[in-house]
Amino acid sequence: MDAVNTHGLGRTYDSGKDGTRALDGVSLKIPAGSVYGLIGRNGAGKTTFLRIIGTQLMPTDGSAEVLGFDVVREPRPIRERIAVIPQESRPLYFLTVEELVDLHLRQRGMARAEAKERTRKVLADLDLTRLSHKIVNRLSGGMRRRAMVAMVLASDAEFLLLDEPTTGLDPLARREVWAAIRQASRDHRTVLLTTHYLDEAEALSHRLALLDNGKLIVEGTPNEIRARVRWPFRVTVPLTIPEEELRSYGEVSAFAGGHLVFTREAQARSLTELALKRNLPVSMAPVSLEDVFLQLVGRPLDEATPTEEAES
């Protein structure tokens, strides 16, 4: 079963004469029980997609089914089954962390005893127990964000939509949130999240979608996505090897300590050998998701998109 199934989903924001095409013909499926990551540059359309799926925003074209219900015609049953963290949302500042979670659950209709037990558990899972009686206003920004994550994870929703849940969290806190999200997935809940941390997207997501300018650029498991770029390997060499020489291997860019060459496997090997022969330090690795991201959306718009070339 798919938790989400969209067909040519689109949204144009109508602001005066020229509307913004924020989402453009996005068709994708999110398998139930999976963690699905949505990545893309600022303004790519991630929040717009999430808000349409969460029944907070109307699409202007295309269709979307969430948990088998149509987002436009049947929002009620969807809302009964989802919980969201909106981007940039902040918790009610005059409550304690414990009240925040507990009252959120009861507001959703949960009985007192169950709400209490779930609150206790989620606070322990997210290492918030020692803060449970602290007023939210007195927390740091990252702690507040974690409190919001706790609210949503503690709910009985079967589908969680998290818009940048870990923005502003320290590395350890992020990993605690990851663990909680993985646990949610093991409990057969579906998670749709957006993030700008590509290591996080890779570590957490069963599948990923990359949006750019409202369009779906590539979709699949992290490995599938890595395999679809033109340059699946990265080699770093010192600046002493001139750029002209490197260009025959692939795409060259300079960074602080040397040259970064995106290339194919065979060329990567021969470039590594060349560097070793000259007694130069060299490293070679498959591209990271971040490299893929840069390759797919980090180029001028008039160039052909690499996925099209990869397919041909």
Binding site: L57, V84, P91, Y93, L95
Partner: protein, 255 residues
């Protein structure tokens, strides 16, 4: 949600938006009493005491009307400052429950003010009968319902809380300055009276005047605008109309 869950949800919202803030920030209560009380003071001083009961009637109605503004600013605050509107929309909590919960919490905030006015009424030597008390309560509830529905509808249109600051005074001008809230209706120039009929406050105040038995001012007979049943009917119509508008026009989901 089941009916029981809806009630639980509504009471929870009233608890976190009403009971908890009252416990933690009791000064808020003074704030809700301050402005009707200062109006009353002004009216009494200017009229050398003659308009005391008119001032009390006006204070009761104004306190309830201002709930509309409170609901609207609460909603706008949660929507544009905390970005929590989306969180509520994408949850089992339905719009009427959310608004009713917020409106109930604001009602709790209004209780001290209303009580104070009723004490002044009692101390003024005018008798309070059961039927007059019931009429006042009815007027209160109807104004409350109207104001909450109006506040909700407006709040869903605002993107930014500053729009609220611009719009609210204009609205309260239309709702509360034209209607004869603090003085007898006959004080209003006759060409302005038709405008007064456009505001539900007019009917509410007329009803409260009747409940309080304010039949004359300084010996001059002061006729009521309408019979009590007509006032009630008008208030019900306003409340119902704004419920329909809220249901049809409020932007719960962004269009």
């Amino acid at each position: 949600m089941t009916g029981r869950n809806r009630l639980r949800s509504l009471l929870t919202i009233a608890y976190w938006n009403g009971v908890l803030p009252m416990k933690r920030m009791p000064l808020f209560l003074l704030n809700t009493i301050a402005s009707p009380l200062s109006f009353l003071f002004f009216i009494v001083v200017v009229s050398h005491g003659a308009l005391l009961l008119y001032g009390v009637a006006g204070g009761i109605v104004l306190t309830m009307l201002s709930i509309g503004t409170s609901v609207q600013t609460d909603l706008s605050h949660y929507k544009s400052d905390l970005k929590l509107h989306d969180l509520v929309v994408a949850s089992p909590v339905e719009a009427p429950i959310y608004v009713a919960g917020l409106a109930l919490s604001e009602f709790l905030f209004a209780i001290p003010g209303i009580s104070l006015f009723i004490v002044i009424w009692a101390l003024s030597g005018n008798p309070i009968s059961l039927s007059s008390a019931l009429l006042v309560v009815l007027a209160l509830i109807l104004v409350w319902a109207f104001a909450s529905a109006l506040g909700f509808t407006l709040a869903t249109y605002f993107e930014d809380i500053r729009e609220t600051f611009v719009f609210s005074p204009l609205l309260s001008l239309a709702l509360t300055v034209l209607p004869p809230i603090y003085y007898p209706a006959s004080f209003l120039p006759s060409w302005l009276r038709p405008f007064a009929y456009l505001s539900p406050a007019t009917y509410a105040v007329d009803l409260v005047h009747q409940a309080m038995g304010l039949t004359n001012f300084n010996g001059i007979p002061e006729p009521y605008l309408l019979p009590a049943w007509a006032d009630i009917l008008a208030l019900v119509a306003f409340a119902a109309a704004f419920f329909v508008i809220a249901a049809k026009k409020a932007r719960w989901r962004e269009p």
